[in-house]
């Protein structure tokens, strides 16, 4: 894989993609989708602004960069800047800065009260990049910043440790200054397209505010929901010590709430200024509405896959189906690989020749991977559960009978659709849109039939039973395979998805409108 990325910051691209922790450095469904969009629209030029946590996340791209990508720039949100802070001891600037801090306080009050408008984002943009901006150095050293933080602290619940509060505010706002600087120097584009809310979405909002160009947002998972789940349990957020706490404390610590509200606010501000917001399925759309998105600007654009490459590897009808099930995905806790491993133990008892393949990168969470391997070893499944590492799905599908997922959270997994295109039914947990993919959404879709099975989360026995039912009944497998092929060809072909985005780009970048392909929401 070439590490040389195109760098042309002055070239105006048709679309500037704002990517946080995905393409081209992190493998996964979202990255694959991004590459699909870029390659599916060769007539458009793309620039990419990649946001990562630190420099070491951006060492080597894991995807080839398509030819129509004219510029790639990478920024780390958490690494400390190399340049020393500029001296800001211009004493006549303080008076101007006072007004900026007052504006900042007013905007935070507006966020707190839920009254979010374009003016709120405009206000924050003014605070960070206006005529007299607050800089990171000001936040760290200026007396006015200290006073502002102190005033906000006095509104917090009694007993909150000021030290913890202060450092929370400082660390929370650090990346915002990085985003502001990126927005100041961003490459020009006719349209900005963020593939999440969060920092990338907020950057898009700043860019729209600065350039006036439209902003589109596509959400695969719901960023704020995922952050909320993470933040609820991380142990780096200090807990408040209440010596009178007895029994269960059912109130989340204030600082956790502050962090969660921060990401909610980023999401709401992004939704507020986006021209359109896209998601994959109805469940996510409802969540977006709950999170403050304007219903009139929401659209569902399901994922799509290229049918032809997978159709070429379909098993002929009547051919023997090997008792091999494949979990194609990263070896990470959210995929709940351990449930898969435990299920394989049950499957092996009923079907001695069965194998379970774990097909995906193992380097994202080495500790979890090690635990999974130890579990395999402790359950004596070394010859049953095989760690294949990263492999191309199109090469794996001819060798497996079922594509499975035991994830605790999913959006609209591309791997299931790819398996469908190859005629491979799926057994998944009931998360995300998996049940829509397997059973259908609309009446016509459901009439196609079931393309596999859906089981409850974290239930190795039920998962194993569903797998065995399909493996032991060739007729049922065949029916599921046919249903899978028909469903993916009818509703999830990539040309439909690409055409929809082509129309969206055309519409929003001010060129003549074409007809749209939009999935009806029943």
């Amino acid at each position: 894989m070439s590490a040389e990325l195109p760098f042309n910051p002055t070239v105006k691209a048709d679309v500037c993609l704002l990517l946080e922790g995905t393409f081209p450095y992190v493998r996964g469904g979202v990255s694959t989708w991004v590459k699909q969009i870029i390659e599916g629209l060769p007539e458009r030029t793309f620039s990419i602004i990649f946001l990562g946590a630190s420099e070491k996340d951006m060492e080597t791209p894991v995807y080839d960069i398509p030819k129509n990508v004219v510029h790639v720039e990478c920024h780390s949100l958490l690494d400390a800047p190399n340049e020393p802070p500029k001296t800001q001891k211009q004493w006549f600037r303080t008076r101007r800065l006072q007004k900026t801090f007052e504006l900042n306080d007013a905007m935070h009050e507006s966020l707190r009260s839920g009254e979010l408008t374009d003016e709120t984002l405009h206000g924050f943009a003014e605070v960070m990049s206006g005529k007299y901006p607050v800089t990171e150095h000001d936040l760290q050293h200026h007396r006015l910043a200290w006073e502002s933080i102190r005033k906000q602290y006095l509104k917090a619940p009694e007993g909150l440790d000021f030290n913890h509060y202060f450092w929370t505010i400082r660390s929370m706002h650090g990346p915002m200054f990085v985003l502001s600087e990126i927005a100041e120097n961003a490459p020009p584009a006719a349209l900005y397209h963020s593939v999440s809310t969060g920092y990338a979405g907020f950057l898009g909002a700043l860019l729209k505010q600065k350039t006036g160009q439209p902003l589109l947002v596509s959400e695969h998972g719901i960023y704020t929901k995922e952050r909320e789940l993470d933040l609820a349990q991380v142990n780096w957020i200090p807990e408040e010590y209440d010596p009178f706490r007895v029994g269960l404390n059912d109130q989340m610590s204030y600082l956790r709430q502050v962090w969660i509200r921060f990401f909610h606010s980023l999401g709401r501000m992004t939704y507020a200024v986006s021209n359109e917001v896209y998601t994959l399925y109805e469940g996510n759309r409802l969540r977006q509405i709950k999170d403050g998105a304007d219903e009139s600007r929401l659209r569902i654009i399901p994922n799509g896959v290229a049918i032809a490459p997978y159709a070429a590897v379909r098993r002929p009808e009547g051919a023997a189906v090997p008792p091999v099930i494949g979990l194609i995905g990263r070896v990470v806790p959210i995929k709940d690989i351990k449930t898969f491993i435990r299920a394989m133990r049950v499957i092996r008892v009923s079907l001695p020749g069965a194998q379970g393949w774990l097909i995906g990168p193992e380097d994202e969470d080495p500790i979890y991977t090690q635990e999974c391997k130890q579990l395999v070893s402790s359950l004596d499944l070394e010859d049953v559960v095989l760690f294949k590492g990263f492999q191309k799905p199109v090469e794996m599908f001819p060798q497996i009978a079922l594509s499975v997922l035991t994830s605790v959270s999913e959006g609209q997994p591309l791997v299931v659709l790819e398996g469908f295109a190859a005629g491979i039914p799926a057994v998944t947990t009931d998360v995300g849109s998996c049940s829509e993919l397997i059973f259908g959404v609309t009446e016509e879709d459901r009439a196609i039939g079931s393309a596999g099975a859906v089981v409850p989360m974290a239930s190795p026995t039920e998962f194993a039973e569903a797998v065995l039912e399909l493996l032991n009944d060739p007729d049922q497998w065949q029916k599921a395979s046919k249903a899978a092929i028909e469903r993916v060809e009818t509703y999830y072909a990539d040309d439909q998805m690409i055409a929809t985005y082509r129309d969206a780009y055309t519409q929003h970048s001010g060129q003549p409108l074409n007809s749209t392909h939009q999935r009806k929401v029943s």
């Binding site: 001891k89 102190r150 007993g159 269960l248 806790p333 435990r342 989360m457 974290a458």
Partner: protein, 337 residues
Amino acid sequence: MLHSARYFGLVVLVSLLQLMLLWQLLSPWFDIFESSLIWLGLHALSAAAFGWVAGHWMASFTDLEAKPTSWFLGIMTLCMPGVGGISALIALIIAYRVWKYRDAESTDFVTTENIDLPFTTPTGRKVSVPDSRGFVEQLRYSKDADALYQKVLSSSYIRNSISVDVLREAVKHGDERIRLTAYQILDRKVNALNAEIQRLEAVAQKGSQNVRGTTWLQIANNYWELLTLERGDEAARKQLLKKAILSAKRSVNEDRTNRNAFLVLGRVSLAAGELNAADVAFQKAMALGMPGDNVVPYLAEVAFGKRDFKKVQQLLDSLDDAFKKYPPLKQVVEYWT
């Protein structure tokens, strides 16, 4: 300091020049310039010179930058001959000293209305309302997903043996936030125990015999804790029991006088269905001085497993009254004796 003194000297010199020019401007008897243009030119030059030296002098002992300060003082001098620059300079020095003095003041202390421990209740603290329903029942039947979510979160603070059933029920809940939170809590607890076991195994490899004995006992206890978390998963349970027994055996091999190790060995053997081994371990624990009331209930369980019901009765009867009066043994004793 010399640097500063040199600048100061130049400031005084140029100031005198400025004052001279001012005097020349104001006094009709002292007219050494033939043309006002020459006076203006000299004034402009001296204003620039004053601005430069005064700006650099200020920069040498304050945090002011030389360039903007020089410009400011130069322009003041140009606009107000003599007095403008000098008074601006004096004003800057006074302002600097005031600012410096302010900086030396003590930092504002933030006061909060913390309660005086330990006698008063914190004001404004939200009082939890006790709910008499069982937590698992709430998960099954309660409609308030937000409140349930908070309760599931807080269950990470309570003992595994109590929280695990709650968390396993929560993993099946319809609300994704509750499901994922419960899953993550369970996963984190298991990971923490596994990490601790790994660490202890490394310690046990290197330590002295005393250390090895207690370390293996800790490992056995951690496996026992994992058994609680893996409740319901028969395959994992068997593996964990095997490892717990192995660790407990290694502990007793390292230290034959550790009664706690024999008690743990007895308990894990009992859980694994190895009744004879459990019996031997419990007897040994008692022989080493473990109080009988701690061991007898387990011996009764062993006897029950062997279907020696008379012995069950005898053993339970021999318990101290203090143990027989309270759960969990109260109901058992009432049935058998």
